[in-house]
């Protein structure tokens, strides 16, 4: 993605390719101060109007960035608050029609399909999404990077929420417990929530193209999704594998390949 950080030469600022929102603001402000100082140090004879135009242009750009960032942060705050209040039905509206969400090893696609299934069924049934306080060290892990044309952005926000899944049981106890907000196996998840956002023009509102929960820790190990929809009525459209799982699969495959080669060599040497 061609992000604004590339323009401002801050590519090496963080190995992750992300920089904190606060630091970015600092950068913008610093640039602004330098630019505003330029006329005072400009040499006589140099046309000041160019500097003014540049300055205005750059300031406008910075303001546009700040406004976009504020808008993106607002979308995430709105998303969090809808989740926290249990207004699941409204959440898919924050997404593009073909938007998707990656959660717990599954990709849920489409505002009216997968996303509706994720939020209106899975999250609702588990009362997932109640916001929990973040630890202070998480606060500066937030970042927003925007494309040069200001039409797409990547944002990362730390999150901590209560997640849950309904208990499985035949009797009425679970249903009764639901009356009290219970009947759910609950756990706490913390990590980073990565949003890919898009908009048609600078005047349009941002919509979420893709939202991915990168869970870093949980109060209990929640089992990842194993079935896709419709085998699992609340299931994702596709399963995804974590890097650890990928490494395990590759490792296993390599091991299998190595053993097969050894076996073949053994066979060949036996035949010879």
């Amino acid at each position: 993605m061609d992000t604004s950080k590339n323009q401002s030469g801050l590519k090496n600022e963080k190995a992750t390719g992300r920089r904190s929102f606060i630091r970015k603001m600092g950068t913008v402000m610093t640039t602004g101060v330098v630019v505003s100082a330029m006329p005072a140090v400009a040499k006589p004879g140099k046309p000041n109007d160019i500097s003014s135009e540049t300055m205005i242009g750059e300031l406008s750009e910075r303001i546009a960035i700040l406004e976009a960032e504020k808008s993106i942060a607002g979308i995430y705050q709105n998303y969090e608050s809808l989740l926290n209040d249990g207004n699941y039905a409204q959440i898919p509206e924050l997404f593009a029609r073909d938007g998707e969400c990656v959660y717990n090893g599954g990709v849920f696609r489409g505002r009216d399909n997968g996303l509706d299934r994720l939020y209106n069924i899975r999250f609702r049934n588990g009362l997932t999404g109640k916001k929990l306080d973040l630890t202070p060290d998480c606060q500066d892990r937030q970042s927003i990077d925007m494309s040069k044309d200001h039409l797409s952005a990547l944002a990362v926000f730390p999150y901590a929420m209560q997640a849950g899944s309904p208990m499985v049981a035949d009797g009425v106890l679970v249903k009764m417990a639901r009356l009290h907000g219970g009947g759910i196996n609950k756990w706490i998840e913390t990590g980073m929530c990565e949003l890919s956002l898009t908009r048609k023009s600078r005047e349009d509102a941002w919509v979420i193209k893709r939202l991915e929960y990168r869970t870093e820790s949980g109060s209990i190990p929640a089992s990842t999704l194993t079935k896709v929809f419709p085998a699992d009525p609340e299931g994702p459209d596709e399963l995804v594998y974590s890097p650890v799982q990928v490494v395990l699969v590759i490792g296993f495959s390599l091991g299998l390949f190595y053993n097969t080669c050894l076996l073949l060599l053994d066979q060949i040497s036996f035949m010879l």
């Binding site: 249990g86 208990m167 499985v168 009797g171 106890l173 009764m176």
Partner: protein
């Protein structure tokens, strides 16, 4: 006076009275006001009082005599009849608004000049969403209630700072009450939002029932109570209690099973029959109303909203054939659920054994060959075929096998839960099968007793396991998993209730069902019950009080087929009500 009914309230088909029928019946009380056996008090005669409520109207009352009043409320003035009773420094009076279907029950705490008013009304048209997500309109005959807290306005005096308020201080208390009407009840205030009660006079069967309730604290020795028999007759009972003198004054309003309007005020005398240990915090949860928690709950509850459990509204009726068709597609056993996380381990105590169970009085004779921990073969004596099935067994007590299996190809689907005492050959079988006279998807069950032909054992000829009331009055909490605990209260010899522990360990919603208890050994019992008119599931567990554990099975049928599953929990003894003396065959008393 009429004879008490012998149809359990959860099975009774109460008439869906229309609003106009209700209005017509209410007219009968317009002239008289509530009836009273004990005589009205004239304490309020000639007085005028203004009651300011925090969350409701201002009431201007003028009492002409001990039966007539006028009240200005919501800007309208009404004249009508009332009845009042005193309880120490509490004055209670009740009246309806003429030509309307609403009325007020007013509890005046004269010491503190504080007032609790319970507005009641019929034909509210209130909507509720069931647990299954269906929106229902509450029956017109179900009395609705809204509680207002306030004070008596006194010229020149500022308003009191305190108010009566909801409380959890009563949670756990159990009382026997005898009203001046001759009505006897056992009432167990075992939840902060519900009551277990046993009608000792009105009903032929001594079964326990549960109804939504409110508990309002007046002071350390006095509280105000109400319950509405939601999903039953819809009748409303409210009273003030003085715990020091164990006396009450109150009101009953609503339509009974004969659709007669009962509207009377009463005095009563009671006894405390015991206490259960509340595990919730003092005066915390109980100070706030408890409403159903939904994912997207409304910001403010509607007037009259309460924590009412209405399971039958989501219970879909199926015929025997429909259930069996579903069973032919799917009949499963021993799937783990969240109800067996804390189960006891499976045992191989029967593996390698061959035995015959002979049940009394023409009951079945079943031959068993148990070859493995999870598989056995059985043959009924009248048949020649051996059937091989999966089974699960626990060693519920030393050398006491407790096992279950499905009967192969049974129609209706049937499972057996069998206790076999390997030390004496005594055996009990709970025969559970799909279908009752009410629903194809409800389980019916019964206990049969007998002995086993078992190598090395001479079984007794007369001694048997037997139906028992040993656990009656006891309450046990059962923790099925870290997130699921309920309390079983054995309210009567033939029924018990279950109550959900909420997040702060206050007891919340509860429901009840007929059940049976079999004594297997001292401190070891079988509990068999079906969640009747609820979801139709049966739970058949063996309770070992010595190790505070239960283990067993659930049996259920529905659209998804028939399932014989596992149940097990670790427990705590929560308390005991001394109530056995109130039960047993006796001459039936006539109702009110």
């Amino acid at each position: 006076m009429s004879h008490p009914i012998n149809i359990p309230m959860h099975r009774f088909k109460y008439t869906r009275l229309t609003s106009s029928q209700i209005a017509e019946k209410l007219k009968a009380f317009a002239e008289s006001g509530p009836v009273c056996r004990s005589g009205y008090t004239g304490e309020l005669s000639g007085k005028s009082i203004r009651i300011i409520t925090d969350n409701g109207p201002v009431f201007d009352y003028s009492f002409r005599d001990k039966q007539h009043l006028s009240v200005k409320v919501d800007g309208n003035t009404f004249t009508g009849t009332y009845g009042a009773l005193t309880l120490k420094n509490m004055i209670f009076f009740s009246h309806m608004i003429p030509s309307e279907q609403r009325g007020y029950n007013v509890f005046i705490d004269q010491n503190a000049s504080l007032v609790t008013i319970i507005e009641v009304w019929f034909s509210g048209g209130r909507k509720e969403r069931t647990m299954g997500g269906n929106e229902i309109i509450i029956d017109d005959r179900e009395v609705q209630r809204q509680i207002y807290y306030g004070y008596i306005e006194k010229t020149g005096q500022t308003a009191p700072e305190t108010r009566h308020h909801l409380t959890n201080r009563i949670e756990g208390k159990g009382m026997y009450w005898l009203q001046d009407t001759g009505i006897e009840t056992l009432e167990f205030y075992s939840s902060v939002v519900s009551t277990n009660f046993v009608e000792l006079t009105r009903l032929m069967d001594e079964l326990g029932y549960c109804s939504p309730s409110d508990y309002v604290l007046v002071n350390d020795n006095m509280f105000i109570y109400n319950r509405t028999e939601c999903e039953l007759s819809g009748i409303f009972t409210s009273y003030a209690v003085d715990l020091n003198t164990l006396t009450q004054v109150g009101v009953r309003l609503g339509f009974n099973e004969r659709d007669e309007l009962e509207y009377y005020i009463f005095r009563g005398a009671g006894k405390i029959v015991g206490e259960l240990t509340p595990l919730g915090p003092f005066e915390k949860k109980g100070n706030e109303p408890m409403f159903p928690q939904t994912a997207d709950r409304p910001a403010s509850p509607a007037k009259g909203q309460r924590m009412a459990y209405r399971p039958a509204r989501d219970f879909i009726h199926m015929t025997d054939e429909e259930v069996h068709e579903a069973a032919l597609i799917s009949t499963t056993n021993f799937t783990h659920t969240d109800m067996d996380v804390n189960n006891m381990p499976f045992s191989d105590i029967l593996a390698g054994k061959e035995f015959t169970l002979r049940f009394d009085r023409g009951g079945p004779v079943i031959h068993y060959k148990v070859e493995e921990k999870f598989r056995l073969r059985y043959r009924e004596d009248k048949e020649s075929t051996w059937y091989e099935v999966e089974y699960r067994a626990y060693e519920a007590d030393d050398d006491l096998a407790w096992f279950s299996h499905l009967l192969v190809d049974s129609k209706p689907r049937t499972s057996l839960q069998i206790a076999l005492d390997l030390t004496n050959g005594l055996t009990t079988c709970i025969h559970s099968q799909m279908g009752t006279e009410y629903y194809g998807n409800e389980v019916s069950y019964y206990a049969i007793f007998g002995v086993a032909d078992l190598q090395g054992i001479n079984p007794p000829r007369y001694l048997r396991h037997e139906l028992s009331d040993d656990l009656v009055g006891h309450a046990w909490s059962w923790t099925y998993s870290n997130n699921m605990t309920s309390m079983h209260l054995f309210t009567a010899p033939n029924s018990h209730s279950w109550t959900i522990y909420t997040a702060d360990q206050s007891l919340g919603s509860q429901w009840c069902a007929p059940s049976l208890l079999v004594k297997v050994r001292n401190g070891v019992h079988i509990l068999a019950e079906c969640e009747e008119a609820c979801n139709g599931s049966a739970m058949i567990v063996m309770i070992n009080e010595k190790i505070r554990h239960d283990c067993g099975f659930s049996f259920q049928g529905g659209r998804e087929g028939v399932r014989l599953n596992l149940v097990g929990a670790i427990g705590r003894h929560i308390g005991y009500y001394d109530i056995k003396k109130y039960f047993g065959p006796k001459a039936a008393k006539k109702g009110v």
